[in-house]
């Protein structure tokens, strides 16, 4: 499906979704609460089949955090980006690792580098950083005077 068809057929799938202009692929903003149903629908409804989550990351916009999911379909070959706005103090979003198994590792990485809590993730622990680590390194306001030698 091309980008316009996607844009027209998506609202009935995700009622509260808004779309952004610009960028290479269709950007869809979804609320954190509805993300569980939307992700399930995106993968299992016939026409979409977004079965390949190839990039899951988070961006810290100093006022809020944005979760970014890059999805593609191995059958229809169309791509899409889903974005979720989370507030900075208590970022929480539903896990998607039962729809896409690759999310298990990616979510653990975002959890330790950004502090986003993924609800009912089977094994949410530090994956890359040592088990005891204060602060979330990839946030913009992360200060580490001992290790970080600023240029």
């Amino acid at each position: 499906m091309t980008r316009e068809e996607l844009q027209n057929s998506l609202p009935d799938l995700a009622p509260g979704a808004t779309f952004e202009e610009g960028g290479e692929w269709l950007n869809m903003n979804v609320t954190a609460e509805s993300w569980k149903a939307v992700s399930h629908a995106l993968k299992f409804t016939a026409g979409f089949d977004f079965d390949y989550l190839f990039c899951l990351t988070c961006v810290d916009w100093k006022t809020h955090l944005t979760m970014v999911y890059h999805l593609t379909s191995t059958t229809h070959r169309h791509n899409m980006v889903v974005k979720i706005k989370l507030d900075r103090t208590k970022p929480e979003v539903e896990t998607v690792c039962d729809t896409w198994r690759t999310a298990e590792f990616h979510e653990r990485e975002v959890f330790e580098l950004f502090g986003v809590v993924f609800l009912n993730h089977p094994d949410l622990r530090n994956l890359i950083l040592p088990d005891v680590w204060d602060g979330f390194p990839l946030r913009k306001d992360y200060e580490d005077p001992i290790n970080m030698i600023k240029l």
């Binding site: 390194p137 992360y142 290790n147």
Partner: protein, 182 residues
Amino acid sequence: MDVNPKAPAPFPGEVIQTPGGGILVSRMDQVINWARSNSLWPLVFGTSCCAIEMMSTAAAKYDWSRFGFEVARATPRQADVIIIAGTIVNKMAPVLKRLYDQMAEPKYVIAMGACATSGGPFFYNTYSVVKGADHIIPVDVYIAGCPPRPEALIHAMLSLQEKIKSGMTREQIKMEKPEQSF
């Protein structure tokens, strides 16, 4: 290089006289050091890109077994020299220290590449890199380069052999003068 050089008159620092001892002991020490320096078994310890250059040195073209480095042992118990090939990160530091302690006694360390020498390209703006492996274990020979060429690694091994023969490695100095260990 001769073993006990006479220090020039206005010598700022203090010269550590390597204890020569009698003819027999010094003769015996030199034979032992000569034997040790010609069969240094490296530990299989490659963390990142320099490990590939170390493997190229181990392969046929730059063949380090010409100098007695043939056997790369996987366990520290049977290894003589750790070649720190790659970046040492905060999470890896205790592991490296533990490996160094578990090595049998005449042990030497070569810090290969800019990362092991000083953190290299990851010196600025990184929260997890140890800026140089000598923060963790005493290093005998440093190699510059990112990654250093196999010839540079072989040159470092030869200078380590020279150091061992002349008894100037950190571990040997520490053994002779335990109270002055640094």
